[in-house]
Subunit: 409 residues, 2 copies
C-alpha cells in the first residue's frame, strides 16, 4: 500500500468571534471560501482547543501541543524558540531570551522600545555583543529582523525563572532583572551585567554615532525578556516515526519546529505579512510532501490582521488562503491526509490571542464525513469530530495514517 | 426505591469507517437495527474515545478503561490478562505471557506459528511443561483453546520488560528473549531456558510422536509473547460498591474482568465467533442482572468480521446483535440502565483496531434524551453526550444509577 502522508495547514490566529461590521459573522464565516468549504464537505470537522478550553495559547505553546510535545512539560518561555528560530544553536540547559534593540536616555529610561524601528546596522551592533563572557557564563547574541534579537546564556548554575528587563512600555526605566526563584539568582545577576555592558558598548558604537548624525534614534540598549530554558524534547521522528518538515513565516514557529525536530524549509516570497506569496507557500508545501511524510505549514497573515483589529483585512487574507487551498488540493495524492486549522483565535475585537477554540477539518481516506458544508468556527462545532484538544491532533492524524502503535492487544 | 442496576453491552470492534461497498455507510449504519435505533431514540447518545482521541486501543486496555481502571496505570502487557482468562491464578508480581504452541525445525526455525492449528493433545503437552523450576523461578503453564496457552513466571527479581520470543512470522528463527531494562535480565534468561527445555520435552512427547505418524505438524515449541506484570488493582466492588459480573467470549476479556474483580459467567453456546448463540448470551445477561448490580457483556463477532475485512459479515453480526437487544430489552427492569457501545473500532478497511471513536447510547430513568434516532457512528456524534472518553463511562453510569459519591459539599 502507498505510504500515507500528512499536510497540516495552520492559519495563524484565524479563529475569531462574531464581528458587527461583518453582520455578526466571524471573518472566516464572512469570507468566500469555496475551497475550504469543499474540504469541509468531504472531510470530518470539529473544533479544537489548542491547549484546553479557555486557555489563551501562544503560537509557540499551541504549535508544541499540535506537534505532540505537551507545552506544560516542555515549555518554560519563548526564549529558546526565538533563538532557534533565527538560527542559533540552542542546547539543552541553555537559558535564552528574546531581545529588543531599544533607545534609552542617559538615566536608562526607555525612549523607544524598538530603537526607531531600526532596520540596518544591527548585525554590526550584535557583533559587538556576541561572545562576551560574564561571571563564567558564555553570552551568545544574534540579531533578527528589524529591532529584534535573541540571547543565549550558556554555563552552569543558570535557572530560567527571572523577570523581564523590557518594561513593555515607554518612559519608565529599564527594569532590573529579578530572580523569581533561588536557582535563578546567577541568571539575574548575569543579565543585569549584560544590560550594563551592552549599553556601554552600543552607546559609543559607530553605527549609533552615525544614526545620531542622521537624526535617528540610537539602538543603545538591549532588553531581554521571555526567559526560558531548553529541555531536550524527544525528536518528532523518534516519537512518531515520520520524516517531517515545517514551513513557517516567523522565527518563533521555525524555532518550535526545529526544536521539536522538524526540518525547516525557507520559501522565497514568504513575508510573514498580509502580502505574503501564498502561491509560493502552497507550491513549497506540495513539493515538501514529495520528500517528507509530514509537512506542517504556518501562514501568519490572519494573526496580523487580528492583532491590528482589521476584520476586512482578515477576510481578504482568508480568501487568499482559500485560493491557495484550491491550487494545492488537486496536486495532493490520495494517500495524503490534509488537516486545516488555526493555532489560536486572534479576534479582531480583542486584538490579541483568545482562548476560543479553532475550527478543524481533516480530509483523506477513511475519515467519517459529517454534515458540515462550510468551514467556520460555528459550522465546525457541529461536525463529527466534536471538540478535541491540540494534544490529540497528532494521535488522530497518526491513526488515520495507519501509523499509530496499538496500546494493548 | 428499587435498587438501580446496569447492563453494559460491548460489541467488540463494532465501530467502523465508511465502506464503499456499503454505499459509503459504516456496517453499523448500513445494518437494519430497529432495536438499537429504538434505544437511541429514548436514550442519550454520544461518541467515546476508549482511551483518548486517536489512540488505537487494544480490547484489554479499553475494557480496563471502561471498568474504571486506567490502563496507563495498570496495564503493562497482555500476559496477566490472558493467563487469568484461562483460569490461572495470577498473583501480583507474577510476570505472565501469552504463548503459542508452534512447530519448529531442527534449527529452531519456525515452520508453523500455530502447530498446524492443533486442537487435541495440548493438555497432555502442557502437563509436561507446567510446574518446572528454572533458576529458582516457578513456571506455571496452561493450554487454552487450540494452539494457545499462557505462561506465568513466579519468583523474585523478575521484571516484565522483555522482548517477544514469537517472531510473529514464519521461516525465521525463534527469537531470543532480550531484556529491555536492567531489572528484566533474569526474566529474559529464564524465558530462554524455558524455550530450550520445553522444546526438548515437547519434541519427544508421545502426543507429537503420534502427530508425526498421522502426518500432522508436531507442537514442539512454545513461543511466549506479550509479557506483563500483574499489579494489584483495587477491586471493582471496593471502588464502586457494586456486585459485578462479566460475560465474555474470549480469554483476554474474561481475564481483564477477573483481574478487575468481576465474577465471570460462562455461557453455553458462546463461541466467540460469528456463529455465537446471541440468544443464549442475551438470556445469560438478563439472568445475571437478577444476581448482580452490574453486568458487562462482550460479544466478539463484529471484531472478527473487521479483522477479516468482511463488511457484509459485520452487518449480519450487527443485525443479530440488534435482535438480541430486541429480545432482552422487554425483560429488563425499570431501574436498570443499559449502555451499548464498542470497545474500539475495527474498520473492515483497516483489518485492525483503529483510534476512531465508538458510538455510545445509554437508556434508563432520568437520562436526557436527544434528537438522535439511529444508532451509528455519525448519528451518535450529534447526540447529547458529545464526546467522552472511556475512563468517564463508569462515572457517568454510577451517577445515573445514583450511586456516585459527591466530590465536595
Amino acid at each position: 500500500m502507498q505510504k500515507t502522508k500528512c499536510l497540516l495547514l495552520i492559519f495563524d490566529g484565524m479563529g475569531d468571534r462574531p464581528v458587527a461590521e461583518l453582520g455578526g459573522l466571524t471573518p472566516l464565516e464572512a469570507a468566500e471560501t469555496p475551497n475550504l468549504d469543499a474540504m469541509a464537505k468531504r472531510g470530518i470537522n470539529g473544533i479544537m482547543d489548542p491547549i484546553a478550553p479557555g486557555i489563551r495559547p501562544g503560537s509557540d505553546t499551541s504549535h508544541l501541543s499540535y506537534l505532540g510535545a505537551d507545552p506544560y512539560v516542555w515549555y518554560t518561555g519563548r526564549g529558546p524558540f526565538e533563538a532557534a528560530g533565527i538560527g542559533l544553536d540552542v542546547r539543552p540547559g541553555d537559558v535564552a531570551f528574546r531581545c529588543n534593540f531599544a533607545t534609552v536616555d542617559e538615566k536608562m529610561a526607555i525612549v523607544d522600545r524598538r530603537a526607531g524601528r531600526i532596520t540596518e546596522g544591527t548585525h554590526e551592533l550584535a557583533q559587538a555583543i556576541d561572545g562576551m563572557e560574564i561571571q563564567g557564563v558564555k553570552v551568545i547574541f544574534k540579531e533578527s529582523v528589524a529591532h529584534r534579537g535573541a540571547l543565549i546564556l550558556r554555563g552552569s548554575g543558570l535557572g530560567h525563572k527571572v523577570s523581564d528587563v523590557d518594561p513593555h512600555d515607554t518612559g519608565g526605566p529599564v527594569r532590573r532583572c529579578e530572580a523569581l526563584d533561588a536557582d535563578s539568582r546567577k541568571t539575574a545577576s548575569v543579565i543585569n551585567e549584560f544590560v550594563r555592558i551592552s549599553h556601554e558598548r552600543l552607546e559609543k558604537h559607530r553605527v549609533n554615532v552615525e544614526r545620531r548624525k542622521k537624526g535617528l534614534l540610537p539602538a543603545n540598549a538591549l532588553l531581554p525578556r521571555g526567559a526560558g530554558v531548553l529541555k531536550e524534547i524527544p525528536s518528532f521522528k523518534q516519537r512518531f516515526g515520520l520524516s517531517a518538515a515545517a514551513i513557517a513565516e516567523v522565527g518563533l514557529i521555525s524555532g518550535v519546529a526545529k526544536i521539536v525536530g522538524l526540518d525547516v524549509i525557507e520559501v522565497a516570497g514568504s513575508t510573514g505579512g498580509l502580502d505574503t506569496d501564498t502561491k509560493a507557500l502552497g507550491s513549497a508545501a506540495v513539493s515538501a510532501l514529495g520528500r517528507y511524510d509530514f509537512v506542517m505549514m504556518n501562514v501568519k497573515g490572519c494573526d496580523i490582521a487580528g492583532h491590528d483589529g482589521q476584520p476586512k483585512a482578515k477576510v481578504a487574507m482568508i480568501e487568499r488562503l482559500d485560493q491557495m487551498i484550491g491550487e494545492i488540493m488537486p496536486l495532493i495524492g490520495e494517500g495524503t491526509y490534509v488537516a486545516v486549522t488555526a493555532d489560536h483565535s486572534t479576534p479582531v475585537s480583542v486584538k490579541n490571542h483568545s482562548g476560543d477554540p479553532v475550527p478543524l477539518c481533516i480530509v483523506g481516506r477513511g475519515v467519517r464525513p459529517d454534515d458540515v458544508t462550510e468551514f467556520g468556527e460555528r459550522s465546525c462545532s457541529k461536525g463529527g469530530m466534536g471538540r478535541i484538544t491540540g494534544k490529540d491532533l497528532m494521535n488522530v492524524l497518526l491513526d488515520l495514517m495507519d501509523r499509530a502503535p496499538m496500546f494493548g492487544a
